[in-house]
Symmetry: C2
Subunit: 201 residues, 2 copies
């Protein structure tokens, strides 16, 4: 199965600006991308990256600066089956990737927290994506509209995309890849005040 | 396997006070409890509830108003194997419960978002819990200290405990039980501003 990993190389992870500066956000985003590539590769798949700018990774890169929705709809039009895995799933593992690609269904979605679509397998060429808004809900509707069977993958690792400072708690606690190591080396750590963890540096 | 569901019947879900009043929070918490009981029962297990006050459910209830940590350590002392499932997992399904109880390991943990321990199976009587702070990390340490094999369950449904207003997004999107229906009937809904969903009423 083809696997596409879209990557924003231009202004990645702007919501982490309270804890990482611009260069650091760029570095951290690339570490997460490399972790995702490594997990996909370890699951015996050969991903390609579609990036807004050239990026130095060990797999083929296509540069395309369009928004995610038209870009992925073109990816689907190029042929199914295809998997689309977001580049900021710092906690992804080969096992989680395997659960995604081995699941039956014309459309397979691993939802992200907050209604996103963090990973997707499309086997029906009539399916189209819309990543704007609460994309999980829209994708469920789109699948039903074309009579496609939808399978939802129940994975905390795939549900954890890293956008907000609070998401870093999950990377520090559960991450085993280079992005987690990068964060720790940058002095980012969990502090506990009462029962609520926060991320400090 | 014994399954224990601890329940705070006294002041449940105080962090939802910006959207539900006290009586509503009590009702919603009981709906979530009943959903958890139903999923555990549908997975062919017979749970008991340990509640701070009497509560009207279809399974045995023990009233015990101690804090969670000494309470669950006594539950473990009464005999292993035992499973402990939190009462606010509104999105839990029978399939998720089965993954938990069928997993190998002296200690099996389904982590919650933010470092919690949302569900737990203990097969080693020397294991002890500490729910204060980042309990997942402490439980991992405790398991290692007694040489117990630890298995971590990768489930978004089990990771989603409902404490904060933003957690209601997940219930509205993915919930199939009475708690989700209760929320919708109360007029709680998702609004989208840009790409970020919020919960309004």
């Amino acid at each position: 199965m083809r696997v596409v990993i879209p990557f924003d190389a231009t202004t990645p992870k702007s919501r982490l600006s309270t804890i990482l500066d611009g260069d650091e956000r760029a570095s951290f985003a690339r570490e997460m991308l490399r972790d995702v590539i490594e997990s996909v590769t370890a699951a015996d798949l050969s991903p390609t990256v579609v990036s807004t700018e050239p990026v130095d990774v060990d797999v083929p890169v296509t540069v395309d600066d369009r928004r995610l929705t038209p870009l992925i709809n073109d990816v689907i039009a190029e042929g199914v089956p295809v998997a689309v895995v977001m580049a900021d799933l710092a906690n992804v593992t080969p096992a989680a990737v395997r659960r995604l690609v081995r699941a039956d269904g014309d459309v397979v979605i691993a939802p992200g927290r907050g209604g996103g679509t963090n990973a997707l397998v499309v086997r029906d060429e009539d399916f189209s994506v819309d990543y704007h808004g609460v994309s999980f809900r829209d994708h469920r509707t789109n699948a039903a509209a074309i009579g496609a069977d939808l399978t939802v993958i129940d994975s905390f690792r795939l549900a954890t995309d890293v956008d907000e400072r609070s998401d870093l708690v999950e990377v520090l606690l559960h991450g085993t890849g280079d992005a987690a190591d990068w964060l720790r080396a940058a002095g980012v750590r969990i502090e506990v005040d009462g029962d609520r963890p926060s991320v400090e540096r």
